[in-house]
Structures are given as C-alpha cells and as structure tokens.
Amino acid sequence: MSFDQNAFIIILTGSMIAISCGLLGAFLMLRKMAMTGDAISHAVLPGIVIAFLISGSRHGLTMVIGAGLVGLIATACIEYLTQKVKLQSDASIGITFTSLFAIGIILITFLANQIDLDQDCVLYGEIAYVPIDLWITKAGTIMGPRTTYLAVINLVLAIAFVSLFYKELKLSTFDPEFAATIGLSTAGVNYGLMGMVSYTTVSSFEAVGAILVVALLVVPPATAFLWTKNLKKLLTVTAILGVLISFLGYYLAYLLNSSIAGAMASVAGVFFFVSVTLNRHQIPRIKSKMRRLREEMA
C-alpha cells in the first residue's frame, strides 16, 4: 500500500471528475433522465471525430465544442421524438444515441488510416496514464498533468452552473409546468444541463472513459438519494461519495492490479447495494426510533 505523488494525482483527478459528474447526474436522476447521460456520452462520438478532423489534435477546445454541439443535437433529437413524435422516452433515447454513435464509428473506421483515434480511447479511457500525460508549454516548461487541469476547470464550471442556477434547476426539475407558468424557460434549463453533461462527459473521457462517466453520473446520486431527502444534502453526499469512490477505487485496483476506472465503478456499485440493503432493513427502524425520541423530547 503506497501513497505517492502519482496516487495523489490519480485520486485527485478521479475525485474531481466524480464530483462534476455527480452534481449534474443528481439532476438527471431527479428528472428521470439518468439514461440521457448515457446516451449523450455515446452520442458525442461523431462530434469528437469531426472536431479531431478539423483541429488535428485529440486535446483542446475544438473537441469540447464539437462534442458539446453534438450533445445538444442529441438532446434536441430526443426531445423532438418524445414531445412531437410522441415516442416513448426510452425508445427516443435508444434511437438517438445508437444512430449518432454509429455515425461516429463509421467516421472513425472510414478515416482509420489517417487519424490517431480509436473507439477504445473514447469508451474506456485510462486514468492510470494521468500522471504521465503532461502539459508541456511551447517554451518547454512542464506544467503538470494535463487531465488534472481539465478536471479542475470542469469542476469549477460544474459547481458554478449548479450553484448559480440552483433555484431554476430545482424548480424546473420538480414541477416543469409550474416553472413554465412563471415564465422560466424550462427548455433553456434543460439544454443548459445537457450542454454541461456533454461537456463534462467529453472532458472526462480520456481519463475515465465513457462507461465510467455514466457510472459516475448515475450511481453516486442514486446512492445518496437512499440516504437523504434534502436536495442540498443529496448534492453534498453525492460529492463525498465521489471522493470515496475515487480513493477506494484506486486502492482496490492497486490490490487487484487491475483497471482503476473499473475498480472505481465497482466500488460505486458496492456502495449502492450496501445502501439498498441497509435502507431496507435498518433505515426504517432507525428513523422510527429517532422520531419516537424526538417526540418524547418535545
């Protein structure tokens, strides 16, 4: 068991990604759109490929913009199919993301000879490489791990988004009809959230891969939901779970000598199932005991 600089960087980066995903994922879950996160994380592939063709680099702003735009197109597509075509929302999601993902795959294979980009890098990612993927300026100064910087920016933007629009997110998630009647643009909030999810997904791809992004979007909020019925606490618990998942995931992978991202997702799953079991058998009993105590005190 060791705790060195590399371990610190990996755990730090993982935690920041987990918190960004969790904060946004909490609202996706409450909107019953958790799988939209999954859809977007796959649908952005053609955006990434096209952005890569334009910029010629696997990193940078073009990728984020390309993916963000396709993410919004995917959201618009899903909305259109559910609202106007009256298709069930899960069917709309399934159709949209598979089609876009397929276009991405075709683009990649079509251009396979020319570009340094493959499905694996998008789907799986490898957080273990974070410490060695350094950001080196043109002058030759080593600034530190590149992905960690991306994660910091992502985290700052995610926290800013959720705290600035907390009231709007809360209202339009709980009661979109009422929100519309007071003149709040529910579509605007929706696209804002989906834009942030697309951006976060892309920003986290290289580090943790698309599948773990989905796990981090869905599992920590779902676990936190079992423990609290207060939105602010839900977000806090989600963030704490994100850090724990990252920390324990790293050491699980260290012990098993396996994929860190995989171990993080597994830890997330274990947290969830433990919470379900505890909630089933323990929580109602603890809660009624607490209530009785409180009533006796009063």
């Binding site: 409450l30 019953k32 009256k86 600035l164 629009f165 907390y166 009231k167 709007e168 809360k170 209202l171 998630t173 709980f174 009661d175 009809e177 009422f178 519309a180 009647t181 007071i182 003149g183 709040l184 939901f225 609290t228 019925k229 207060n230 939105l231 606490k233 839900l234």
Partner: protein
C-alpha cells in the same frame, strides 16, 4: 347560456384545442368578472384542465386566444398563479414543504438571486394560511395527499397574484379541509382577487361558487351560479345529448377527415 361581461379579468375567444387529431375544446368563448370565485364543472374528459392549461400557455391552442387583465399572458405573469394537479409531479423529490412553498417566490426574485429571510417568512405565512405551519420541515413524500394539495395552494399564495387557476384543488382532500380552503378562497375574492377552480362535485358547486363555467368539450354555460345551475344546463353538460359531440369526434377520426389540417 353564456353571459359576457364588460371589463373581464379573463377573456377567452374562440378557443380550440386538440391533442393530436382529437379535439378537446371547441370554440370556447367566455369572459369572467374580477373578484369572483369561479367553478369549472364538467364530466371527465370534458377539457376542464385543458381550458386552464391553454389559458396558461401550457398547451397550444389550434385557434383563438385568451387575454388576462386585457393583456397577453407574458405581460401579466406576475399577477397570475397556477396550481397544477397534485399527481402531475413526483412527490419523492427531495424537498420539504417549506422548500416547495418558497418556489412561489421565485418569479419575483428573478434569475440568479437566492431566496432570503423575507421570502422564508412569506412562505411560512402562506403555510400558516392553509394550516400547514407545523409541517414546514416535513419531507413532501411523507405528507398525505390532502397535505400535499395544501402545500401546492400555499405555494400559489406565496406568488401574491391577483388571479389564481387551480386544477382540482379538492382532489384527495377531506371535507373539513375542503371547507377551510373554500373559506380561504372567499377571503381572497373579498380582497378583489379572482380564483378559478376546476371542480368535480355538482352538489357543492352551488354553495361554493359565484360564477360557474360548464364545459363538455364545448362551452355549455358561463354565468352567475344562480342563473346557470339549472337542471337543463346540467343535463346538457353531463347528460345524453353531449355524448353526441364525443361520437362526432369518433366518426371524424374514423373517416380520416381532419379539419385541423387547414
């Protein structure tokens, strides 16, 4: 019997709404006086909720328009409040009763501003008015149906509007609460506010409301309760003759004829 008035607070003109190819409201044309307690009566599927949703801009009208305070809805949103049906939201949402009532203060706050102490006090006052002050901190999932309904009404009160649309506020509410709510609505109308309520029960409607709207896909009646609550109009609203309209809709649908396309 459709009575029109001068200077109405709500004016609906030639409103027609359909879901897909099924018309739900035909040619609704009415005006409502300010300061009255208005009931919307009609059988299931008569378009009662659709009427207020169309006025609130939540469903699109195929034709016609509505005006509130003689203006477009967007100009007067601050003066209008809408209480949706209780089942339209998921009560497992992580929030307390107070959190929900605070939402009524949001549109006065505007973007980016957070509710503060003033908003909290207002919300507590509103909870008090519906007799729910003791439940302010309670999780909304732990409230009974009637209590959830009262939280919704408290949220509407927190909007401090002039005109209230309430979609089935008495659904799942016990008799004593219903009486208390009617009492509250009476106080509001005495202050010059207008309260429009979708209601199910014909028998209590006569006692509760000053003005009645009877609806069954088309407008059967709109006028002062005493003049409108007649057996003839009730049969027209609920009785045999009205099934013809529904039948007509069915025939139109089967024949593939679609008048809405033009």
């Amino acid at each position: 019997m459709i009575q029109h008035i001068e200077n109405p607070v709500v004016e609906v003109h030639d409103l027609m709404v359909s879901y897909g190819q099924n018309p739900v409201l035909w040619n609704v044309d009415l005006s409502l006086p300010a300061g009255s307690l208005v009931g919307i009566l009609g059988p299931n599927g008569a378009g009662k909720s659709t009427l207020i949703k169309a006025i609130m801009g939540l469903v699109e009208a195929n034709s016609g328009y509505s005006k509130l305070f003689d203006q477009e809805l967007n100009q007067v949103r601050n003066k209008v409040s809408y209480v949706p049906q209780r089942e339209s939201v998921d009560w497992d949402f992580p929030a307390s009763a107070l959190d929900i009532v605070m939402m009524g203060t949001y549109h006065h706050l505007g973007l980016l501003k957070r509710p503060g102490k003033k908003e909290k006090e207002l919300a507590m006052d509103c909870l008090d008015k519906v007799n729910m002050k003791n439940f302010a901190g309670r999780q909304i999932s732990e409230l009974s149906g009637g209590q959830q309904q009262r939280v919704f009404i408290a949220r509407a009160l927190a909007q401090q509007a002039e005109l209230y649309f309430m979609d089935e506020p008495f659904a799942g509410v016990d008799m004593s609460t219903e009486k208390a709510l009617i009492e509250l609505f009476r106080e509001m109308t005495a202050e010059g506010k207008t309260v429009i309520v979708v209601h199910h029960d014909i028998y209590s409607a006569g006692k509760y409301f000053d003005w009645l709207i009877m609806l069954n896909m088309h407008l059967v009646a709109s006028g002062p309760t005493a003049e409108v609550l007649t057996e003839e109009l009730l049969t027209k609203t609920y009785g045999g003759k009205l099934s013809t309209l529904a039948d007509l809709g069915e025939i139109i649908k089967k024949s593939g004829f679609n008048p809405l396309k033009d």
